[in-house]
């Protein structure tokens, strides 16, 4: 290492590097263990369950007052998204068939006949 680079190094840097050298290998090893993965999996599962339970309770209360709950809104959004996805698929098919026709026309009468058959 050059002298100028050495002089740029802070006095506390070796301490941080030593700490990093000490804690990084065991920390890296820990997050790669099955125990860690299991702990995160359990946490995620329970978080999802808790969320669903809270939503169910909230929905029940809101429905008593004829109000839409987050679940209702989510269902509606999902339906709208599915509808939009179907529209997108149809749009893509239409675009493909227009392209095919164009190609067939540009390749002459034989191509047009083939495209019409399709």
């Amino acid at each position: 290492m050059s002298q100028s680079k050495k002089s740029q190094k802070s006095l506390w840097r070796p301490l941080v590097e030593a700490i990093d050298k000490r804690i990084t290998p065991p920390a890296n090893a820990l997050v790669r263990t099955n125990v860690f993965a299991d702990a995160v999996a359990i946490g995620t599962r329970y978080e999802a369950r808790l969320r669903r339970r809270v939503e169910a309770q909230t929905s029940w209360v809101l429905h008593q007052y004829n109000l839409p709950s987050a679940t209702d809104v989510r269902r509606m959004r999902a339906q709208l998204a599915a509808l939009e996805a179907r529209l997108r698929d149809m749009d893509e098919r239409l675009e493909d068939s227009i392209q095919e026709n164009r190609r067939a026309k540009s390749s002459g009468p034989a191509g047009t006949a083939a495209a019409e058959q399709k």
């Binding site: 802070s10 840097r13 990093d20 993965a37 999996a41 995620t44 599962r45 999802a48 998204a81 996805a85």
Partner: protein, 363 residues
Amino acid sequence: MSPPDPSDLVEGIRREAQRSLFRARNGIKLATGAIKPTTGVTPKQVVWTRGKAQLWRYESDKRSRLPPVVIVWSIVSRSYILDLRAGQSFVQSLLDAGIDVFLLDWGEADAVDSRNTLETYVDNYMPRALERAAEVAGAASVDVLGYCFGGLMSLLCVAGHADVPVQNLVVMAAPIDMDKIEGLIRALQRGDMEVEDLLDDSGNIPADAVYRGFSTLRPTADLMKYATLWERLWNDEYVDGYQAMASWIRDQTPLPGGVARQLTEVFLRSNLAITGEVPLGDRVVRFADVTCPVLNVMAENDHMVPPTSSECLQGLLGSDDYTDVRIPAGHIGLAAGRDAALITIPRIIEWLNHRSTVPTSAV
């Protein structure tokens, strides 16, 4: 030991005082978010679009070779890492080498895309985008460069579409053997966690969860990152680079739920990619059908996709012209940063130029 020169001492104090001033200024800017990094700097044009996917062609007056290179980006992160800032751009380096560069960006999945599957991308989008790139460039074929999961998608597309005009294929840090991938993904693999537990209201795995999945692989990375930042906070150039990179790392994209389910079943739990036969749509795609020249670029210090996950590719392909290269870099350093500029990019360009000697006059 000679006593310190008083003039050196004064100079040192003066320099440190100045740096402290700059540190305070840049620290305030960083903390308040006053400076926004400018990323994706190279001018480009959208030449094809479908769904959220876009094909970009980067502007250049140096195009001197065919076929063009189409970069196929991963589905879970932002592509601007390849064009991060001036002087730190994978794309710009390829352009400077006379290559006509296209990039296939998948956009950000929302509720509409939650049912997208691999077939959406590999069978619907990719063949059309690659054909469009060839058409726009006035070439008979294209070279494909797939990065990370984009590498696996490129393999599936080339193997599953004999009619797609691909001359050469480069895959970078492509995950093939999923048993070699470590971290939280193991919980999904072993069935201790289900995709449904991770989906949000839109039906996708949210960007935050994707970020958490990646960041837990290096839990102490922030310690050295912040130490270096503090040390060099006075340096505007370093702070710009730091901000651009830090914001990219946090800026992940949601993973469509349909793709996540398929990934889990086909690739993680059944690990079918290492057999070279992957079910896609109503058929089985065989890597043995990839007969074009293939360059497999692996990063030796890759903590996300270790080289052991990619190296098995050789035995699965039908290509007679296979090269693999190991770069002493990490997953991100493979495409961005000093290692990319000094090692990765020159190797890729050299390999491509060796196999793509058609001079371009019509470009």
